[in-house]
Symmetry: C2
Subunit: 231 residues, 2 copies
DNA sequence: TACAATCAACTTGTCTGATAAGAAGATGTC
DNA sequence: GACATCTTCTTATCAGACAAGTTGATTGTA
């Protein structure tokens, strides 16, 4: 074990406050504890509290108003960045999103079938299982999560970390429409079947089929989304 | 005119410090003035200075080290997304980088040949011309820039903004090795020839050839880099 | 001389206690 | 009821102290 990291008191106060907020006792817009309350509660000096509050203010977690108090800020649009940020700001047309994924993912599946080791396969199986379980209890939010996880792990199995991180970004900022796609009648069942085929191909080391199945999967999903949008 | 905005002293100190940094007397990594120096220079209390420094630290402009001082931070790599950030932090292996680009870019070139309008073609021609001019005067830095520009504009010509922004991210954070690739004897001339072929195919609306030429271009570049690394 | 321990002088980190100033409700006067 | 004042919250700033990390010079010793 290395030397323990000395952490500033003011930062521990920051953590403490963030924890309090995360615990849910305060809603955005609410007044938070005053500086003096925090001094008493956390038993630190006012300087430390003030520096902690400054930090949280810059981070956009609270808003401080002279004479009035400390207020909980609106939850910041998490994770701002050009690519991710752009995707979120512009609600990337779902067409564009699919066109890119239809280019990348079949090849990713191919490479995965060529290179995946036991551990990678196990991970993908687990994501598939989690998706299945979520589907059985009708938990759409969880399904979205594990669908993304499935695709990310396929990318990861290629051992190409650039590819993996790219897929991570793409699956974590999906365009509108994707969210509702799992509500399309039959889409969940098809997804399960298609994922299963992809998984089989990767497990069996069949690059050709892996690529083909991934293409099919994405093309089917796109087709269903298009159809549901036309109604 | 409305009521003037009361601005906290600590924020004015923040501005003052940022101005000092912007004026260029301090380079990234340099030690900045100490808290006491700032107290004397700006004639404010140490609390205000400390809060200002806290703000700048959270914003990533300075790094504070206990017992050592305040240091100018590396200019924040604007464009931070998990993907961009990861690329920069991890110096993506050049192999991974090329594998991904070999997947994406030929298809991008194909789509560009299908969809490019006159304006897009003109932009690509311009980037090609700028690369050529840079090559003639041996300006490698400019060549790298216009090479990236060429590839970005091809992606842009597809009208797929997701694809464009993705390519922007990739061409703006190139792995080690890329920079030196243009120093490989003959590489510049080959690049010019290959770019020219790609441009012709896009201009002529020949998707098949555009895809093929882009594949060739990237494969050749990779081959040369590999060869030069083995020496 | 070479080397190690000690010391002195910086630095940032934290605490205490004071005053200034904004905000808002209570209070008193008209 | 309308309005100015007062009180009591709040945050903002100040001043001065001491703790603790870092570094380089000084000193002591072999």
């Amino acid at each position: 074990m290395g030397p323990i990291k000395r952490v500033r008191l003011s930062e521990r106060v920051t953590d403490a406050i963030e924890t309090m907020i995360a615990e849910g006792a305060f809603a955005p817009g609410d007044r938070f504890l005053s500086e003096n309350d925090l001094v008493k509660k956390l038993e630190v000096s006012r300087s430390s509290v003030r520096e902690a509050v400054r930090i949280l203010e810059v981070r956009g977690r609270v808003i401080v108003k002279h004479g009035k108090g400390i207020f909980i800020a609106e939850p910041p649009d998490e994770d701002r960045d050009p690519f991710t940020g752009w995707l979120k700001d512009n609600k990337a047309p779902i067409f564009d999103h699919f066109e890119v994924r239809l280019i990348i993912e079949p090849k990713a599946a191919r490479r995965a079938a060529e290179k995946a080791d036991d551990e990678s396969v196990k991970g993908i199986e687990k994501a598939y299982g989690a998706f299945l379980a979520s589907a059985e209890r009708g938990d759409t939010a969880a399904m979205i999560r594990f669908d993304g996880e499935f695709h990310r792990l396929v990318a990861k199995a290629t051992k190409n970390r650039t590819l993996y991180h790219l897929m991570k970004t793409m699956t974590k900022s999906l365009p509108e429409g994707w969210i509702t796609s799992l509500h399309i009648p039959g889409r969940v069942e098809k997804t399960l079947g298609e994922h299963s085929s992809i998984l089989d191909a990767i497990r069996g080391g069949d690059p050709e089929r892996a690529e083909e199945m991934m293409t099919l999967h994405l093309a089917n999903a796109l087709k269903d989304i298009q159809a549901s949008m036309e109604r």
